[in-house]
């Protein structure tokens, strides 16, 4: 495949106002998290987590294994309800909302352990992401009213367009479970983009990818940000990716933020080095 020398993909505007509304590109943050925390019984998994992400920012969340990074994602998407703290998306408090409502408000995510609809086709996976962008009702589906055909046609075109970001439009009819690992990760991103998010959460997008795939993924993440004008927050262990594309980075250890700042700040932060490599033994 012509992975390394393909032409840049152009996204053509679709004839529906539902898809990608012009996003407000001002300086107020899309996500504001303050004093977020959750206890599992006696165990405090995340405590006093504060973060703000700009509207078109790429933010990274790093930390050693078990630091609570995925828990933060699960809190943001309300897979877990937080014990403390507030999550404001686009100025709206998400307290009391569930996963579905938060998604409709604009948070989409991928999963660390890939959760695709494996027995369905690639196209169907993306169309499920586009579920709420289609607006026909059940009777229209049963009796095949014109609104069904129109909506399905727009959605299918949209799905192919989204797949073309990763050059996957040729795979539309393949079974999602039969894709190679890297393609499955990419498909998950496409499906998440289908829900028209304003904040995209990527949980270890580069896990299991080789260096050239990772480089390509970096370019694609930036391209997604530039095309869709959305904020992206990612958890990643691949430091070349994190340091390469993230504009702001938060470091989590034992459920607490131990450092925040630009990639340069983080790289030279002694606490971060300590968290990853351990403390230097005092000279005797």
């Amino acid at each position: 495949m012509s992975r390394f020398q393909r032409e840049p993909v152009k996204l053509v505007p679709v004839p529906s106002p539902n898809f990608i509304p012009e996003r407000d590109v001002d300086k107020t943050p899309i996500l504001e998290v303050s004093h977020l925390g959750i206890d599992f019984g006696g165990l405090t998994a995340v405590d006093d987590f504060n973060m703000a992400i700009g509207r078109t920012e790429i933010a990274g969340l790093i930390g050693p294994n078990g630091a609570g990074k995925t828990t933060v994602f699960n809190l943001l998407t309300k897979v877990y309800q937080p014990t403390r703290g507030t999550i404001m998306l686009d100025g709206r408090d998400t307290a009391g909302m569930n996963t579905i409502q938060v998604n409709k408000l604009g948070i989409a995510r991928t999963f660390q352990n890939i959760r695709l609809f494996k027995a369905l086709s690639v196209m169907d996976n993306v169309l499920i992401g586009l579920h709420n962008e289609m607006d026909y009702h059940l009777p229209s589906a049963v009796f095949r009213f014109p609104s069904y055909w129109r909506s399905e046609k727009i959605a299918k075109g949209r799905a192919l367009e989204l797949l073309s970001i990763f050059d996957m439009q040729d795979l539309a009819d393949a079974k999602a479970g039969s894709l190679p690992y890297g393609a499955q990760r990419r498909l998950e991103i496409v499906r998440a983009l289908g829900t028209n998010p304003s904040l995209l959460l990527l949980d270890e997008p580069a896990a299991g990818m080789n260096p050239s795939e990772t480089t390509e993924l970096m370019e694609n993440i930036q391209k997604i940000r530039d095309t869709f004008k959305i904020a992206i927050m990612l958890i990643e262990h691949d430091m070349s990716l994190v340091m390469g594309i993230c504009e702001g980075i938060g470091v989590l250890n034992y459920g607490k933020v131990i450092a925040k700042g630009t990639p340069e700040d983080i790289q030279s932060n002694p606490q971060v080095i300590e968290a990853y490599l351990g403390k230097k033994k005092e000279a005797n």
Binding site: N98, L116, D173
Partner: protein
């Protein structure tokens, strides 16, 4: 980009299916009314149709939604009694029977909502046991209550008798066609994809903004509705309703049809619904061995094809025609066939 080879245009695809199905109905109907097929066999054919509706509707809840309800006979019973009472009350009129079937379906759907909302909060074994309990409750209630508020309605263990035998081949198979069509069109829409996504991965479905509670209930209720319709047809076919006919074994029998045909394959449900109903009848001459053969068929299929006869494959007449046309156009052996990714479109009707 590979072009999807839907060679036959959309309206025509439906037309082909409808015309063929209508032709099938016409031929069979002529044979039956003309007396070529005896009254006994036409009764068997009707009960095959009823089994097909039951299997296809249960397939919606097991194969597509991915749940394991064991109370399908309960919904059938509700539909059967509702239809039977309406038929008895207003016998004679031509539209009574269709209305009775519709009412049977709607009451069953109502029960589907009532049971579905608490039951679908549970998963796997727990849901199976709850729905099993529901099926038993329906049966036991029908068995023990013979008058409701002074009206002698269901007549308890004695059974409801002298129901007008209005079920004909034509009505049964029109209902089969409607069931297959409606379930097919639902499954090929955003609603159907939402139902499939719940089967595949519920957490991911929620993260895509799909209201899983709503779509689970929807799948369950559609399944219950058609079970109710099948119950109404059953009442009109047999003429006598006995509560014990809707016991646990009936639910299991329907589930066996779905599993044997392949969970998630409508064509499989149609096929095994037909075969498993016809088989015991055809084997009546070997009276002693017929249940042995029936059981052996199940054992052999499960050993050699654990995913069921059809797996998740769905037969598509138009898909087949598409392939044929492409083969003819593309010449022999070369090209053509490689790029064909046939959309599985048609209903599996015959």
């Amino acid at each position: 980009m590979i072009k999807k080879s839907t060679i036959i245009p959309m309206p025509l695809r439906y037309l082909i299916n409808i015309v063929l199905f209508a032709a099938f109905l016409f031929v069979m109907n002529t044979l039956i009314t003309g007396g070529t097929i005896s009254k006994y066999y036409s009764g068997v054919i009707s009960s095959i149709g009823i089994s097909i509706i039951l299997a296809v509707s249960l397939n919606m809840a097991t194969g597509y939604l991915g749940q394991l309800p064991l109370g399908h006979a309960g919904f059938m019973a509700v539909g059967a009694y509702t239809s039977a009472l309406i038929m008895k009350a207003a016998a004679g009129s031509l539209i009574t029977f269709p209305l009775a079937l519709l009412a049977g379906g709607l009451v069953a759907a109502l029960f589907g909502i009532l049971i579905g909302i608490p039951a679908l909060k549970l998963k796997g074994d727990y849901l199976a046991i709850l729905t099993l309990g529901f099926g038993q409750i329906i049966m036991v209630v029908l068995l023990n209550i013979d008058d409701v508020l002074g009206f002698k309605l269901t007549r308890g263990a004695a059974g409801l008798q002298k129901i007008p035998k209005t079920t004909t081949f034509l009505i049964t198979f029109i209902c089969v066609g409607i069931t297959c069509f409606v379930i097919h069109t639902i499954m090929k829409s955003r609603h159907g994809r939402a139902i499939l996504s719940i089967r595949e991965n519920e957490i991911a479905a929620e993260s895509c903004g799909i209201n899983t509670t709503y779509y689970k209930t929807l799948g369950f209720v559609v399944s219950a509705f058609f079970a109710g319709v099948a119950g109404g047809l059953y009442a009109g076919n047999i003429g006598i309703l006995n509560p014990s006919a809707f016991g646990f074994m009936k639910s299991i029998e329907i589930l066996v049809m779905v599993v044997l045909g392949g969970m998630g394959s409508m064509f499989g449900s149609v096929l095994s619904g037909g075969v498993l109903t016809a088989l015991p009848e055809l084997l009546r001459d070997f009276d002693k061995y017929r249940m042995v053969v029936y059981s052996l068929v199940l054992v052999v299929v499960m050993i050699f094809k654990p995913t069921g006869l059809m797996g998740t494959y769905d037969f598509s007449l138009n898909g087949l025609l598409d392939k044929l046309i492409l083969r003819l156009k593309g010449g022999k052996g070369d090209g053509g066939g490689k790029a064909v990714l046939v959309e599985k479109e048609g209903k599996a009707n015959e």
